[in-house]
Structures are given as structure tokens and as C-alpha cells.
């Protein structure tokens, strides 16, 4: 199943055991709902260990999008995948803080590489813990 060519749908790529989605457009509410459904399905299907959401192209993150990111992260966690939000711009970060959103429980990284690093580190730490037990 390919989402690539469908308009108004954010494509989800698989890199190793991670899923990567890049949000590049001014998000409309409908797309966000579709995205949540698509992503949950893909995580379950691929047994992905991590989800990277690249928002470096986003000029604005309001509380609605912030809530969506937190939701995605919560859903992924239940499906045993870690979510990392990567590439948030300085102006967006300042605005989110002033808005009163700290995105608690959501992990962040500077870029996709660092996000991947974070997921690998955490899943290997998790595996070690499992091994010790």
C-alpha cells in the first residue's frame, strides 16, 4: 500500500526499524486525522521500534498540532514504538512554550540522524534490561 501519490496524505517511509514522516505542508485538520490512522496501522504492521516525525519545515505549531503530536506519541507508545519529534525551529519552540505547551512525554531531537540515534540507544538499552532480567 502506497500513500505517496495520494494528495492530502502525508507519506510514511520505513528506514530499518523506524518509520519516518516529514510534515511539509500547512497541516489541515483532516490530514491529521488520516495521518493518525495511517501511522497506527503501519506501526502494527511493520513492528517498528521508533517513529520519527520531522517538523523542520513547519512554520507554525499551534495547540491543535501539538496535541496531535502528543497523541501520536501516546498511540505509538502503546504499540511499543518510541516517538521522536525532530527539527523543531527555534521560533516554533519559543512560541509553544509561551503558549503553555511543554509536550511532556514527547521526546525531541535536533535532526533525523540524532533522532535515529536516540531510538537505537533506547531500544538497545531496553534489550539489555530485558536480557538482564
Amino acid at each position: 500500500m502506497t500513500h505517496f501519490l495520494e494528495p492530502n496524505r502525508i507519506p510514511i517511509f520505513q528506514i530499518g526499524d523506524c518509520l519516518l514522516l516529514t510534515i511539509q505542508v500547512d497541516l489541515e485538520d483532516r490530514m491529521i486525522m488520516t495521518l493518525k490512522d495511517d501511522l497506527a496501522e503501519r506501526i502494527a504492521k511493520t513492528h517498528a521500534k521508533g517513529v520519527l516525525i520531522d517538523i523542520s519545515a513547519l512554520d507554525v505549531v499551534d495547540s491543535f498540532i501539538g496535541r496531535m503530536l502528543a497523541n501520536i506519541s501516546a498511540i505509538a507508545r502503546i504499540l511499543d514504538a518510541a516517538t521522536v519529534i525532530v527539527g523543531m525551529r527555534p521560533a516554533v519552540a519559543i512560541t509553544l512554550v509561551e503558549l503553555g505547551m511543554s509536550l511532556q512525554g514527547v521526546r525531541t531531537a535536533l535532526d533525523v540522524d540524532r533522532g535515529m540515534e536516540l531510538i537505537r540507544r533506547e531500544s538497545s538499552e531496553g534489550a539489555e534490561r530485558l536480557h538482564e532480567a
Binding site: 489541515e28 507554525v60 499551534d62 527555534p90 521560533a91 516554533v92 503553555g100 505547551m101
Partner: protein, 148 residues
Amino acid sequence: MRPEAGRPEAGRGENSAETIPIRTGADVSRVRRSVATAMAVIGASRIETTRMVTAASELARNTLDYGGGGEVLIAVVGRMTRRKVELVFTDHGPGISDMSKALTDGYSTGGGLGLGLSGARRLCKEFEIRSVPGEGTVVKVASWTERP
């Protein structure tokens, strides 16, 4: 409800005003784009633009979700050194009966985070709200460029 409190001030310069209806989620995106354009006209910084566009997004969504739709007037006013972008959101929804509660962080009647009004107030340099229960709500916000 008529936006008396929220009528943009008259000023000199290349001023402009535009009204955008807020009926669907796509209109919220349109509002964001128009506010970003207006902020570019007054030469606002990136961070100031982000603040104002984010506030506009919150308020537009409030208008849609709680006011049952409405409209926003986006105006560029003022003279060369002190130019302002003013936004006036108007709806004819149920209005707000407890204003102080509505302006509190985390208070929501619509299942959101309750950051809409309080967050927008923190992001804008000017914030004004009038609401009459049963008639509707008018929110006016403004931002301007700082000249050192």
C-alpha cells in the same frame, strides 16, 4: 454582535484590510497564511510572526469550534515607524458566560487543552475580548514591529 470594541484604528500609510470567513478547517489554514502575509508587510521578525500566526490559529479554531463559525478581519494599520497588524475575530455563537474561567490555562469546554484564549493572550502584544452570552464573542489582538 457588532465588533465595536474591535474596530481597527485608522492610520496612514499603505494600510489594508481583508475579511476571511471561518467556516471549515481549511479556512483556519487560510487565516494562518493571510496573517503571515500581513506580518511580512510590516516587516515583523520571524519569532514575532510565528507568535502572531500561532495566536491567529488558536483564535480561528475557537471561532470555528465554540462560536459555530464566524469571520476574521485582518488589518495592517499605522504609520511607517510603528505599523501594526490587527486581527478581529467575530462569531455569533453562545458567547462566554464566565470570562475569567475561559482565560484560565487548561479550562476547556470543547475537549481541547484549554490553551486557546489564554495562550493567544500570552502570544500577542495586545489582547481584548468582549462576549455577550447568547449573542457572540469578539476578540481583537494586535502585534507590531519593534524599532530599536
